[in-house]
Symmetry: C2
Subunit: 231 residues, 2 copies
């Protein structure tokens, strides 16, 4: 347990999408959103929370030159390192982790979540300094049913939590976890981490921290972004 | 099993909120949203799907005169009957059902879901004509964890569905179900219906069909509404 201020902080932003679900040729992490590509907004969110955070972007290798041309087009100067995307998210994160040599905390964040709040970011790093891990979750507002054979039944939603990112971990423990062989049950970094005998600490996310994956999300996200930045 | 065209159709729109969560004095179902109070948009959605549908609005008794003044202020002429809200949603719906004497199909809908699509409404009534019930659900896009004692674990999200409204039923069967004594486990109409030994049929909802309960929902909903109405 360390104080978060004294720890070196990294974020690996995974931006491996190829854009099919948005019905557009532009991969969703590059779509312009309130004046900047989604991924750039995401990077700015982390720089706003921690000025000295080290940013690692994981991109499909074939999109690196496109990304560089976007940075030049938007005169985007936020310092970052690049890693190449792998076969799955697991392999992408692993590639990102290889660029980190020191100790401290690393957050893994979805490139298409530009609406993560400063409070969520700070909460996750602060609690990860205390508990070795922290992942942001929110409650479910809808009734939830679970499918069983040809039927379905209600499940107690008060016990369910929707998981967001950044998922923040002690670097050494996460690196150790990523030494495991790939398992299709690894749906996020928390699942990799806990499969290596670590415990996951849950903290509060923010409702607006949606994943921009469908056109409806882009519309909702854009208006949320405008309003949140006016407040 | 009947053809949906030949059946009389009703919708009970439950608008019992008192508005606290919106941080406003105006109950959320009455907040203006793209030029009309949320509840009026919701009513228009059903009239657009089925011109002859009978609309029953359930309102807290103390808000009826406010509602009437809004109808006059907005020159809102969509025909509807009023029922008074009860102690819980269960009692509110029961009060609404008492205004229905004939047979056919009845949908129960949240007053604060103005973004229900025509396709969702038609799908629910059409499939309820065939299966006695139909409730709209969508898949979960986030990783989901379930709390257990002091820990949490991942639950297979591919088996989970988020439940929306309208939940549509054969009138006679739903009325019979509402003869049961109230049980706090009744979180929606489907739970009342199935506790009376009926089966619930799931159909597809629409992602934009969000519940307007927090300020962020109002912002997202308003921009979605504008765009969906332009398409």
């Amino acid at each position: 347990m360390f104080e978060v201020e004294t720890l070196k902080k990294y974020v690996i932003i995974v931006a491996g999408g190829s854009g099919n679900r948005m019905g557009s040729e532009i991969p969703k992490q590059f779509i312009e959103f309130c004046g900047l590509p989604v991924l750039m907004h995401t990077m700015v969110a982390f720089k706003t929370a921690y000025e000295n955070i080290e940013i690692i972007i994981v991109l499909p290798e074939g999109l690196v030159s496109y990304w560089e041309s976007l940075c030049s087009q938007y005169n985007f100067k936020v310092h970052h390192q690049l890693a190449f995307g792998g076969e799955t998210r697991f392999h992408s994160v692993k590639n990102g982790l290889e660029l980190i040599s020191g100790e401290g905390l690393v957050g893994i964040h979805d490139g298409v979540r530009p609406l993560v709040s400063k409070e969520t970011i700070v909460r996750c790093y602060t609690e990860a300094a205390k508990y070795s891990s922290a992942i942001p979750v929110i409650e479910v507002v809808e009734t939830v049913r679970v499918l069983e054979d040809n039927r379905s039944k209600i499940i107690d939603r008060s016990k369910l939590r929707l998981v967001q990112t950044p998922q923040v971990f002690e670097i050494n423990l996460l690196k150790q976890a990523y030494q495991q062989s790939f398992n299709p049950a690894f749906t996020d970094d928390a699942s990799v981490f806990e499969s290596s005998s670590n415990e996951i600490h849950l903290t509060l996310g923010n409702k607006e921290n949606i994943k921009i994956t469908h056109p409806a999300d882009l519309i909702m996200g854009e208006s949320l972004f405008r309003v949140l930045n006016l407040i």
